[in-house]
C-alpha cells in the first residue's frame, strides 16, 4: 500500500496546485491518518540517504535521516520538549521496537499532524552520513505504530478516568494528584481512608503496576478497588454489594495496561 499512497499523494498535490488549494507554500490540510500514511510512503520510497522533514504551518517539525526505507536518525525535533524519549532525539537509537523508539517518534508525529496544515519535504544530505551501526527503524511499521500510539493513553489519564467513573463513591487519588472525596451519604471516615492510602503507598513502593479488589463481608459490607499504574493510583470504595461487580469489572478492564 505505501507505493499507492505515494501515487495518491502526488496526484493530490498536483490537483491541489491546479485548483489553487495547496497555496504557494505547499502546506496542505490532511487528517492524521492521511498525513501519517504520506510520511510512511515517503520514507518507504527513500532508498538513497535523504533528510525528510514533516512540518506544520505553525513551525512544529520532525526531521529524520532516512536511507534504504528506514529511519536511521532523528535529526531534529522542534520544539525539542515534544520528545518524550529517555535520551535526546538525536541520541536515540532508531529501531523497530515500539517502547524504545516508535512510541516517542509517533508521539511527536501525532502532535505535528493533529488538525493542522502540513508539508513533507525532502532534501539531499550536505555531508556524508558517517558510520551507522544500527539497522534503523523500518518505515513500513510507521502506520501500525501510529495506531498503537493513538490508543496509548498515559497512565495518569487512565487512572483519572477510572477515578472519574465513580463520582458518587468514597474514593482517593494518589500519585501526582492527592485527594480524598467522600460523599455526604457515606459512613467512611476520611482519616481511615487516608491511613489506607498510606499503607498502600508503602506496599506499592518499587512496583510499577498493581490492581486489587477487596471485599469484606459481615455486619456491614465493603468493597474497594485499587489501581496503580506508573506511579499514579486511586482507591474507589463502595458500601453497596450491588455495586461490587461494576467496580470489579472496570478494574479488570485495566489489566491490558499491566
Amino acid at each position: 500500500m505505501p507505493s499507492s499512497a505515494k501515487l495518491h499523494a502526488s496526484f493530490d498535490s498536483i490537483t491541489a496546485l491546479i485548483d489553487g488549494d495547496g497555496g504557494p507554500s505547499g502546506f496542505r490540510e490532511m487528517d492524521t491518518e492521511t498525513a501519517c500514511a504520506e510520511l510512511e510512503a515517503t520514507l518507504v520510497n527513500t532508498v538513497l540517504p535523504r533528510r525528510i522533514t514533516i512540518r506544520s504551518e505553525d513551525g512544529v517539525r520532525l526531521s529524520v535521516i532516512a536511507r534504504n526505507r528506514r529511519v536511521i536518525k532523528v535529526a531534529d525535533v522542534h520544539p525539542q520538549n515534544l520528545w518524550e524519549g529517555q535520551q535526546s532525539p538525536q541520541a536515540t537509537v532508531c529501531e523497530g521496537d515500539y517502547d524504545s523508539f516508535a512510541r516517542a517518534f509517533t508521539s511527536v508525529l501525532l502532535k505535528i499532524v493533529a488538525d493542522k496544515r502540513i508539508i513533507i519535504e525532502q532534501t539531499f544530505l550536505p555531508h556524508a552520513l558517517g558510520t551507522i551501526t544500527h539497522s534503523g527503524y523500518p518505515a513500513s511499521m510507521l502506520c501500525d505504530h501510529v495506531s498503537l500510539s493513538q490508543n496509548d493513553e498515559g497512565d495518569a489519564a487512565v487512572i483519572q478516568g477510572f477515578y472519574d467513573t465513580f463520582p458518587d463513591h468514597p474514593r482517593a487519588r494518589f500519585g501526582s494528584a492527592d485527594e480524598i472525596d467522600i460523599p455526604a451519604t457515606s459512613n467512611i471516615d476520611p482519616a481511615w481512608i487516608d491511613g489506607c492510602v498510606a499503607a498502600l503507598r508503602e506496599e506499592l513502593n518499587g512496583k510499577d503496576t498493581d490492581l486489587r479488589f477487596i471485599v469484606v463481608d459481615g455486619g456491614d459490607c465493603r468493597g474497594a478497588a485499587m489501581a496503580w499504574l506508573g506511579g499514579e493510583g486511586c482507591l474507589v470504595m463502595s458500601e453497596y454489594p450491588d455495586q461490587f461487580d461494576e467496580l470489579e469489572l472496570r478494574l479488570s478492564a485495566l489489566r491490558e495496561r499491566l
Partner: protein
C-alpha cells in the same frame, strides 16, 4: 482426616467444573501449613504452588488488607483479588473459621458471588464433618 481431605478435594473439583478458567485451586491451613491443591489440565509444579500460596498469604496479611478488615463491623468473610498480567489470584478467608484460606488462580476474573458461595461451602466442611 482422610474423609475431610477427600470431601475438600471433591469441592475443589466442583470449583474447577464450574469455573473453566480456574487454573489452580487450593485450600491452605495457615496454622498447620497443610495444603490441598488441584490444578486443571496440566500438572503444576511444586514451586508454582508454593509461590501462589506465598502470594496469597502476602495478600491476606498486607497492611492495606488488614486496615480494610479492621474498618468493617464484625467482618466474617474477606476476599482479595489481585489482577495480574498472566492470571487473576483470588484469596478468600472465613474469619470465623480460623486460618483456612481458599486460593484460586484464574486466567480471567471469575464471577465473585458464585465463587463466594462455593468458598462458604468449603469452609463449612470441617463443621459438617464434625457434626456428623
Amino acid at each position: 482426616m482422610d474423609d475431610l481431605r477427600q470431601k475438600t478435594l471433591d469441592m475443589i473439583d466442583a470449583l474447577h467444573e464450574r469455573f473453566k478458567d480456574c487454573k489452580l485451586a487450593m485450600l491452605i491451613d495457615q496454622e498447620t501449613g497443610l495444603v490441598f491443591s488441584k490444578s486443571s489440565a496440566s500438572p503444576t509444579s511444586q514451586s508454582i504452588v508454593q509461590q501462589v500460596g506465598a502470594d496469597a498469604i502476602e495478600a491476606l496479611k498486607s497492611p492495606s488488607a488488614m486496615a480494610f478488615r479492621a474498618s468493617a463491623n464484625e467482618p466474617q468473610l474477606v476476599s482479595i483479588t489481585r489482577v495480574r498480567k498472566r492470571d487473576v489470584l483470588v484469596v478468600i478467608q472465613d474469619l470465623r473459621k480460623g486460618d483456612d484460606a481458599l486460593v484460586c488462580l484464574f486466567s480471567k476474573s471469575p464471577s465473585r458471588s458464585y465463587l463466594m458461595e462455593i468458598a462458604s461451602e468449603i469452609f463449612q466442611l470441617p463443621m459438617t464433618m464434625e457434626a456428623a
